[in-house]
C-alpha cells in the first residue's frame, strides 16, 4: 500500500508541480518527500486539492534542525482518511533565512502548530495571521529547540563522558 502511495504521489507531483521534488523515499513504510522550500506551498495545495490524492487532513506540522546545524526544516504529515494514505513532506532552508510560506490558508489547524514551530525553531511562516510565541514566554529571545542551546550548563564537568566510560 505504502509503496503504491509513494509511486502515485511521486508521479502526480512530477506531472503537476514541476521540479519541486528533491528526493523521495519510503521510511518504515511511510512515503516521504523532500521538496524545495519555495515550492512547498504549491505542493501542499496540490496534494490537498487534487481529487484523486485528496490529502485533506493535516496530521502534524513540526520543525527540526539538520545535523550540520546550518539548516532548519519543516515537516508536514498529511493524511487521506478515505483511502487511508499518509505522506510526509519535508522542506529544508538556511538557518539564517528561515522563511517558509504558511499553510494556514489550507488548514486552520496549522495556526498553532506553526506558532509552536516558530516558538521553538524561529521559522518565520510568511502570511501567518498571528505569528507569536505560544508555549514560551513572550520575552524569550532564543529559539530553545535549536541545537546551539544545549540542555545543561556546559561548564559542569561532573557529567563528562569519559567518567562514564563513553
Amino acid at each position: 500500500m505504502s509503496k503504491e502511495t509513494l509511486d502515485l504521489v511521486h508521479q502526480k507531483l512530477n506531472e503537476h508541480v514541476h521540479g519541486a521534488i528533491i528526493s523521495a523515499e519510503l521510511n518504515f513504510n511511510f512515503p516521504s518527500f523532500t521538496v524545495q522550500h519555495d515550492r512547498v506551498h504549491a505542493v501542499l495545495k496540490f496534494l490537498k486539492e487534487d481529487a484523486d490524492l485528496n490529502f485533506h487532513f493535516l496530521t502534524d506540522l513540526t520543525g527540526m534542525q539538520t545535523t550540520d546545524e546550518k539548516h532548519l526544516g519543516v515537516i508536514y504529515h498529511l493524511h487521506n482518511m478515505q483511502r487511508n494514505m499518509r505522506v510526509r513532506i519535508k522542506t529544508f532552508f538556511d538557518i539564517n533565512k528561515p522563511e517558509v510560506p504558511t499553510a494556514t490558508d489550507l488548514w486552520d489547524g496549522a495556526n498553532w502548530m506553526e506558532r509552536e514551530t516558530y516558538d521553538f525553531f524561529g521559522v518565520r511562516f510568511k502570511g501567518h495571521p498571528d505569528l507569536r510565541r505560544i508555549l514560551n514566554v513572550d520575552e524569550m529571545d532564543i529559539y530553545p529547540l535549536r541545537k546551539e542551546y544545549p540542555l545543561e550548563d556546559q561548564t559542569r564537568d561532573d557529567k563528562d563522558d569519559y567518567k562514564f566510560g563513553r
Binding site: F57, T59, M64, G109, F120, L151
Partner: protein, 397 residues
C-alpha cells in the same frame, strides 16, 4: 457634523479573564473573553503555563528514560502514552511482539481509556450541576488506578511496561482485581447512563452547546472522540492497527452534530466498546512470552544478572542507557484518550533521539475553542471546554 451611530456601534464590550486558575476550567488555562453581557463575543486563549520542554528533555535522555516524560502528557491516561512510545521504539527497532504481550497491553490501554472517559464525562455532569455521578463513577476510576498499582506500583504517572513487553506476568491479585472490575463496572456505568443520557435537564443543557461541523473539525485537525462526535468515523485503532487491535471486534461510535451532548454520548459508548475489547482480550488471551526478544532493552531476571556475565552486561547497559538505536525516521500513532497521539522520532544512531516530536491531540484541537464558543453564554463555554477534555499536561507538553 457628527456621524449618527447605531446602538450596535455604541456597544461597549467588557473583558473577562477566565482563568488561569479558575476552578471551573479544570487545569491552568487562561481565556481572555470579550463579553457582551452574558454572551461571548470573542476569546483569546493563552497557553503554556505548565510547559516543561519535553521535546528538549527527550534529546538528552536514553530511550527507556523517555517513558516517564510521556506519562506527563495526558496524565489521565498515561498508560496509553507509555505504550505509544514503546510501540514507536519497537517499530524503529523492528521488534516482533508476542501476541500475549500485545493483549496485555490492549487490556491496560482500554482500562485507561475508560478511566480517561470517566473523568471527562463525569466532569461534564459536574459542570452541569450533577455532582452525584461524578462521585459515583470516580470510585471506578480509583479502582482502575488500583489495577495499575498492582501491575506497576504507580497510579497516575505509571511508567508501565517496557520497550519490548512486560517485565513479568501479572500477579493473581491483579487478575482478581480485573475480574472484579469486569463483573461490577457495567452496572455502575448503566446507572450513570440512566442518570444523564436521557435526562431532560442534562439534554437541554448540552444539546447544541459548543457544536462544530465535520468540515470545520477536519480543518482544525480534530481527532479522537471530538472528531467522531462531529460524524467522522476515524479511529487509529482501526485505520492503522497497532498492538494487535485488528484481532478485536468493536464499533466506532459517531455523533452527528459535534456538540457537547454528542461528545458525551460518543465517550459513553466508547467506554462500553472498551469494556467489550477487554472481555475479548481476557477470553482469547494467547499463551507465550510476556516480552519480545530484545536483550538490549529488556532487563534480564535478577538471578541471571548475579550469575551470568552477559546478563550483567546487558543490565548495566540498559540501566546506564548505553544502547544505541539504529538511525531512522519513524512516525507512529496510537489512539489516545483524546485522539491521535503521534510520535515523530528521528534517530541519528545514538543513545538518545536526535529529535522527538509529540503530536498532542489536545494542543491541536484546543485552537478551535474560540470559534466554538463564539456567541455562546459564559456557562456554555465552561461545559464546552470540559466536553473537549482539554488536559493541561498534553496541551503544554
Amino acid at each position: 457634523m457628527s456621524k449618527k451611530t447605531t446602538a450596535a456601534e455604541e456597544k461597549e464590550y467588557s473583558t473577562l479573564n477566565l482563568g488561569p486558575t479558575h476552578p471551573a476550567t479544570h487545569g491552568i488555562f487562561q481565556n481572555v473573553l470579550k463579553m457582551d453581557g452574558e454572551i461571548i463575543h470573542d476569546a483569546q486563549p493563552t497557553i503554556g503555563y505548565i510547559h516543561r520542554a519535553f521535546e528538549k528533555l527527550a534529546e538528552r535522555r536514553p530511550y527507556a528514560q523517555i517513558t516517564p516524560i510521556t506519562d506527563r502528557l495526558n496524565y489521565c491516561s498515561s498508560p496509553i502514552n507509555n505504550m505509544g512510545w514503546h510501540t514507536t521504539v519497537e517499530k524503529l527497532l523492528g521488534v516482533e511482539m508476542p501476541k500475549r504481550a500485545d493483549y496485555h497491553r490492549v487490556i491496560i490501554m482500554e482500562l485507561s481509556r475508560i478511566a480517561d472517559h470517566i473523568i471527562c464525562n463525569t466532569i461534564i455532569g459536574q459542570d452541569t450541576g450533577a455532582t452525584t455521578g461524578f462521585l459515583y463513577l470516580f470510585q471506578w476510576r480509583e479502582y482502575i488506578y488500583e489495577i495499575f498499582e498492582a501491575i506497576c506500583g504507580a497510579r497516575l504517572t505509571t511508567n508501565i511496561s517496557r520497550i519490548g513487553g512486560f517485565d513479568r506476568e501479572w500477579s493473581k491479585q491483579t487478575w482478581d482485581k480485573i475480574n472484579d472490575f469486569m463483573n461490577r463496572f457495567p452496572a455502575a456505568l448503566d446507572e450513570f447512563s440512566r442518570m444523564l443520557e436521557r435526562n431532560k435537564i442534562f439534554m437541554d443543557r448540552t444539546i447544541n452547546c459548543g457544536p462544530i461541523s465535520a468540515e470545520r473539525a477536519l480543518a482544525y485537525s480534530f481527532t479522537g472522540p471530538n472528531l467522531r462526535a462531529a460524524g467522522v468515523d476515524y479511529d487509529v485503532r482501526v485505520a492503522s492497527p497497532y498492538s494487535s487491535y485488528e484481532d478485536f471486534d468493536f464499533i466506532i461510535p459517531v455523533g452527528t452534530a459535534g456538540d457537547t451532548y454528542d461528545r458525551f454520548m460518543v465517550r459513553q459508548e466508547e467506554m462500553r466498546q472498551s469494556f467489550k475489547i477487554i472481555q475479548q482480550a481476557i477470553k482469547n488471551m494467547p499463551s507465550g512470552a510476556m516480552h519480545a526478544d530484545v536483550p538490549d532493552f529488556f532487563l534480564p531476571p535478577k538471578d541471571q544478572v548475579y550469575n551470568n556475565m552477559e546478563a550483567l552486561i546487558y543490565h548495566f547497559k540498559i540501566v546506564m542507557g548505553e544502547t544505541d538505536i539504529p538511525a531512522g525516521e519513524v512516525y507512529h500513532c496510537v489512539e489516545g484518550g483524546n485522539g491521535e497521539l503521534g510520535f515523530y522520532l528521528i534517530s541519528d544512531g545514538g543513545r538518545t533521539p536526535f529529535r522527538l516530536h509529540f503530536r498532542r491531540p489536545c494542543f491541536i484541537y484546543y485552537q478551535a475553542y474560540p470559534e466554538m464558543i463564539k456567541g455562546a453564554m459564559l456557562s456554555d463555554a465552561i461545559i464546552t471546554m470540559s466536553s473537549m477534555n482539554v488536559i493541561a499536561g498534553e496541551l503544554d507538553a
